[in-house]
Symmetry: C3
Subunit: 133 residues, 3 copies
């Protein structure tokens, strides 16, 4: 299991971790198999979406804010109920195939760590199940 460290700088922020996951693939020397990226946090998610135009991540973040406002009729007393809800909407892990020693992503796809309750020091777990080394 490899650990990727991510420092976030705002309350809500999408951070492209594609390069870090690619590096973990290369270090693992796995040629073919499946890569799992898992967040052990409950107020952050992981998603795969467009990494060409940065306005896409902005639109996702902003629209999630509309769907799940910061202030609402929430019970949780820590003031981050919205972040927990957003984390469950996106999910806390992604699965990506590996072929020829590289992640198999679409042309426009990047892997994003989705912070909803920062700024924080976060970590992600990357694990591989190889078919061939």
């Amino acid at each position: 299991m490899k650990v990727i460290k991510v420092n976030t700088h705002q309350r809500e922020e999408f951070i492209d971790i594609t390069q870090e996951v690619e590096s973990a693939v290369r270090e693992s020397k796995i040629k073919e198999g499946v890569c799992f990226v898992f967040s052990p946090h409950t107020t952050a998610g992981i998603t795969i979406n467009e990494n060409a135009d940065p306005s896409v991540k902005k639109d996702i973040l902003n629209h999630l804010k509309k769907l799940v406002p910061f202030s609402g009729d929430y019970s949780h007393s820590e003031g981050n109920a919205d972040a927990h809800i957003k984390a469950s909407l996106l999910g806390n892990s992604v699965t990506v195939l590996v072929e020829g020693g590289n992640l198999v992503l679409g042309t426009w796809q990047g892997i994003y760590f989705c912070e909803f309750d920062g700024p924080r020091r976060r970590k992600l777990y990357v694990y591989f199940l190889p078919t061939f080394r």
Copy 2:
């Protein structure tokens, strides 16, 4: 494949199944690898979120009710269209790493079975792909 049985008691309810999944890991004798938890139902989901403060699961359930009301302009005639929609928003499976014979979860993370059309007798499938036994 191990089967976890869950009886739900209300129409909508989050049930913490972390202990049941942990027990399945121990029975499997897997030391390292990946654990998959899959729901074969279409009106229920699975999510990983905070299990310390029970208000978090309450907030997620209540907010999903606001986003996807029970009554709406739905075509499905069984009266549970909202439950199907919520199931797709959360997803019907989760993936968790296993290390040292234990699930690798964050300090505050629990695995929840998310009933949206209960009360029902439900079952979940747990499967492991081991790297080392």
Copy 3:
């Protein structure tokens, strides 16, 4: 890795790909293990939900349109910001167990490719990690 090709005919459309994934399982000759279905596109998702009554997929599509309208206060200039947001809400991959050479799906479950920015020619990747061949 097997490739499933899907042609979509409307802007938004759910296409049942269960048979195509089942065929891929049979061709792979895998008896037991895990099947991963991954979309390399950023304006489409994959979900598992009811395939008996076609009104369910219609309700999910229509409700997602309400939650994430086509026109909104979006930055992305390509006119498909809503499709990117919906893709992240559903996720771009699903994981299904395989037993006895078949997908382990619930009675009412089907696997849907969820087009949000068609019509397009799309492809999906299917990959297996076998426990036994």
